[in-house]
Symmetry: C2
């Protein structure tokens, strides 16, 4: 994989699935090599030699070794690393190029910026926590959970302050949900050609979250059921991030979460406590959560008025448009990757909807003239990423790859043209248009707007 | 959390959920502190001070600072770390005690041993890849995927050798499954009191796996549908691990996997390729997979005859008993943890079945006399871990905590007594008996056999 460009995986394209060089080695091996006599009937050693592949020639030769063993790669004839040699495991050294990346110059300081998840190299629906995208407004901290507190106040009978240990005694739920920044795919409003899916769609991740339903805490504090129509969530970092959430939603599926993908939240994702607001843009998933206030009207905070509003063609702003509408993107092949030959490929991508489940994903290889329905990996969960896959035999001609998601409300992901007709081109947030990847005859894949 | 014993989380137990010290600080603050005038109506700063908790007194005091700001913890008034400061993220520095651990002396060398997953500190059903249990037979290697090959031979029309790139072009599936070592919970066959759930049940993990269905590869090679009744899977490490799998199963849900929890497999878990054999004991999930052979009878390899067989009371061995039967365990409260006061607790645990879905989990706090049905976190998936939770108000008296899982075949997890009556006490493998945790009046939780 050393020849793979970064970022992203590419795919090699032999005419069939047999490696020609190796096949030649098999043939030679069978014809003229006296070592053949040493091989067991079961082909164990022979297959090991095959498995050595390109490291065949690199194997060290012991002075008095069994000749049949000489062809084994080092990892097949030496003792490996012990268990627990890494009490907390890490990816392979061959995968270090797969990392989250900042887009240089996107913001003035990197403490108030974005790092994008490398979607082009990810599988399934779960995002590895180490590659979860980041959006900080004042940088991240590693907060000592022993000192962290959550206060619930405002229109409640009993304002309370919870320690982390208090929260972890309470009824717990675990649910898989996506999180997407409202500004994901922002550059596609203009005609800028962002090169890779990491930068076009990488403010997107999906994890299993564990925590206490917010409804349990609001009940515990005796919130005002008559006048308490909204809650305000507030973070403990320097940005003092504050977001309004309607009470109906707060009582529905919102979680005060401490767990992510089986372990405690990562510091970059709000350790030790963040809000999980399924289906809603990431800014409302307040990190380093320290306070929930119950009130009778929206707060109209800075990040609800100056930011995270949609500038419409008529000059007005849409406010509190927080639901991430149905959307999808092909992650492989995608921009920056290179297909090096015609033949069979697996087209793979992600689909999601802030309103529920993905019902169907269609894929086009001709810019939207013809569509085929992709396979959805199961389980398909509400407000979670859904992985789709579809077969494609590339004939070597130019192609335009697109995916179109439909959710269980019947909403169909719009084309970029449809989206701009309704919303103009001066928006930053909430771009859920169909993405197009152009495949050139050279196999190069690039971002185009059609 | 500094006072938490390792391994495992414990829970503090105030009489209610208000921290008494902090409540006193709130009261004082409200009564006699002139800084109150600086506080905004929205209580932003006040709540920040509360959030400071125990670090209140530690905050550095700027020479000419705003007095209201002085009470803020450092993380609320300083710039944090930039995005992508860790291109691949890590857990908090406060979570370093949560690690996989070897049981010293369990085997002669640590390269052929086990590290156990810290179930007592995990949430939900997904196991973080960094804490996935390990069972190596000759140590782990970080194999270069560019040189790795998979051969399929034996009773096939066209033996083939696949590169990793070949495999990643083929149709792909993603599925969540548990993996459990056949020797998990082995020490419970005797009356040894293994102290924690990490060591009693920690050879258990659950991940989302991505790869090519084995059926696709067998089809591609034109396997002999008449005589090809079994496949042999072979690993590339020094142990030459080989396991027989019946063809019906191989064609059903077995995956040749390269992905785990969204990224490439970890080296300790078989990078770049392993077999996923849902519902079957871990040894058959051959790591560093280099070969699949199609044959007409089981191979009876070393690890199918000397190991991974069940010694029955009559002196015979059961062979190829590979399905991991329905089982469950309470992970919190569990052995080694300490409950420090009566009151409300969330009992949480895991249930699974190698035959399908978990239908129900019952929990007893009196050693099996009375049972209540727990909540199952969704989705409940076939051959995957299922997280259960149930409320419990501890009255401070001794208690015996048990969980009992029932799968969708109707099979009920047996008591240890029932299991030993059928299987004797000389087994190593396949112990799926009900686990009992004893709670003492002191709050200490320990492993007992009843």
């Amino acid at each position: 994989m050393a020849d793979r460009p970064s970022p992203g995986r590419i795919v090699r394209a032999p005419e069939n699935f047999i490696d020609a060089d190796l096949q030649q080695q098999i043939n030679q091996h069978g014809l003229d090599d006296t070592r053949r006599g040493f091989l067991r009937k079961s082909f164990v050693a022979a297959s090991a030699a095959l498995a050595a592949g390109s490291s065949w020639a690199q194997a060290a030769v012991p002075a008095d070794g069994d000749p049949a063993i000489l062809n084994l790669p080092l990892h097949s004839r030496t003792l490996g690393q012990p268990v627990a040699s890494r009490p907390y495991g890490q990816p392979s050294k061959f995968e270090t190029q797969l990392q989250r990346r900042e887009s240089p110059g996107l913001t003035r300081v990197s403490a108030a910026s974005v790092s994008f998840a490398p979607l082009q190299g990810l599988f399934g629906m779960i995002t590895p926590s180490g590659l979860h995208f980041e959006r900080h407004h004042q940088g991240w901290h590693d907060i000592d959970p022993a000192g962290h507190r959550l206060m619930i106040n405002g229109l409640v009978r009993n304002a309370r302050v919870y320690t982390m240990d208090d929260l972890m005694r309470l009824p717990s739920v675990s649910r898989i949900h996506f999180i997407e920044c409202g500004a994901n795919t922002a550059m596609e409003w203009s005609n800028s050609a962002v090169p890779t899916v990491q930068y076009t769609h990488g403010m997107l991740s999906c994890s299993e979250f564990t925590g206490v339903p917010l409804s349990v805490l609001l009940d515990d504090c005796g919130f005002d059921r008559k006048n308490g129509k909204f809650v305000l969530a507030e973070g403990a970092d320097g940005s003092g991030m504050t977001r309004t959430i309607a009470m109906d939603r707060a009582l529905d599926d919102v979680i005060v979460a401490y767990g992510m993908n089986g372990e405690m939240l990562r510091p970059e994702n709000g350790y030790p406590l963040r809000l999980v607001v399924p289906g809603i843009q990431g800014v409302s998933w307040v990190k380093w959560l320290r306070r929930i206030e119950v009130g009778d009207r929206p707060w109209n905070t800075k990040d609800e008025t100056l930011h995270y509003v949609d500038l419409m063609p008529d000059g007005t702003h849409r406010q509190y448009t927080s639901i991430q509408e149905c959307k999808s993107v092909i992650t492989t092949p995608s921009g920056g990757q290179r297909m090096v030959g015609r033949g069979f490929y697996n087209i793979s991508g992600l689909a999601w909807s802030g309103r529920g489940k993905v019902k169907r994903v269609d894929v086009s290889v001709d810019g939207g003239r013809n569509w085929r329905t992709a396979r959805l990996e199961t389980p398909v969960l509400t407000k979670a990423l859904t992985r789709f896959n579809i077969d494609w035999t590339w004939d070597g001609n130019p192609a335009l790859l697109q995916s179109r998601a439909i959710d269980d409300t019947g909403y169909v992901q719009p084309t970029g043209r449809e989206l701009r007709a309704a919303r103009g081109t001066r928006s930053i947030y909430h771009n859920n248009g169909i993405q197009t990847w152009q495949v050139a005859t050279s196999g190069e894949v690039s971002n185009v707007q059609v």
